[in-house]
């Protein structure tokens, strides 16, 4: 079957089943967490509780988005961990972010797993300290050391990945980072100016970090989609 005749991956039965499964997982997660929130805050949602504690709207939004990001990183760690052992997941390019089952990608998966575990730990600590209730001060040094070790683990695994992944994936990585950093720089300049002249309240580092991660996820998707025409195909694409 030629490239012109092959059926599109999107809206194929496999694609629909995968999206349906994700929707069911999302619904189950929402049901469980929604139930927990309803029990914990019987007189109002978590948002009003945080607002009553004096948290500004931007911080509340950042905490919600940060929680979603943490969930994404935990799922990513699970997927890449499974990709080390499970042929079905390795062969699914959508689940593995386009890396697929080629030899350099297979070498990369253990380091990507370390990266996401470390990222989850350090970002989890930051989210914990951004949200109420505050932990006792006796936790300060242990948390800092765990965060430091996790950050160093991220740097180590990223360095390893740089030399394992082939130039195509490195190019996508670099372009996404450069684009996200520049967009973030412009936003920081605008926000810093607004804060300096008193047009808006100060923004926490945590909110800035959440914003950068969201921008990076979006730019990575755009850059990878432009460079990798078969990114949304689950299996290995047919020869062009």
């Amino acid at each position: 079957m030629s490239a012109l005749e092959k059926p599109k991956a999107i809206f194929s039965p496999k694609w629909l089943v995968s999206v349906g499964a994700l929707a069911v997982c999302g619904a189950a997660f929402g049901y469980v967490t929604g139930g927990w929130f309803a029990e914990r805050f019987p007189h109002g949602g978590g948002f009003s509780y945080l607002a009553e504690q004096g948290y500004p709207p931007l911080t509340i939004i950042s905490l919600v988005l940060g929680g979603i990001l943490l969930f994404i990183y935990i799922c990513s760690a699970i997927v890449y961990g499974l990709a080390i052992f499970n042929k079905g997941i390795v062969g699914n390019r959508v689940l593995t972010g386009g890396l697929g089952s080629n030899p350099s990608s297979r070498k990369a998966y253990p380091y990507i797993l370390v990266f996401y575990i470390a990222y989850t730990v350090v970002f989890g600590i930051l989210t914990l300290y951004a949200a109420p209730p505050k932990l006792p001060t006796s936790f300060a040094w242990p948390m800092f050391l765990i965060g430091l070790a996790s950050s160093l683990a991220m740097a180590w695994s990223a360095t390893k990945l740089w030399f394992i992944l082939d130039e195509f994936f490195r190019t996508i990585w670099v372009e996404a980072c450069a684009l996200a950093s520049f967009i973030m720089l412009v936003i920081v300049l605008i926000v810093a100016t607004a804060v300096s002249v008193g047009l808006m309240p100060a923004v926490t580092l945590y909110s800035g970090l959440v914003l950068y991660q969201l921008i990076y996820l979006i730019t990575y998707g755009i850059v990878a989609g432009a460079r990798d025409p078969n990114m949304l195909e689950m299996g290995e694409p047919e020869d062009a």
């Binding site: 697929g100 080629n102 350099s104 195509f168 460079r227 078969n230 020869d239």
Partner: protein
């Protein structure tokens, strides 16, 4: 940048996987090269030229 990678590969009856293995890159790299979504680095371009036994200009064409 245009290239004749697909033609040269087809002449030798190689799949994209075969070419990727020969060049020690991912199949996605070969796919992106052939569809014009990615231009190779100089070391990779030289590697491709050596593999096919052709000068770089015979494989890659600069499109101004």
């Amino acid at each position: 940048m245009k290239n004749r990678l697909k033609v040269l590969r087809a002449e030798r009856n190689w799949s994209q996987s075969d070419l990727a293995d020969a060049l020690d890159v991912s199949r996605q790299t070969i796919n992106a090269l052939e569809t014009g979504k990615y231009d190779p680095s100089l070391p990779l371009a030289f590697k491709i030229a050596r593999l096919f036994g052709l000068p770089i200009e015979a494989i890659f064409e600069d499109t101004p």
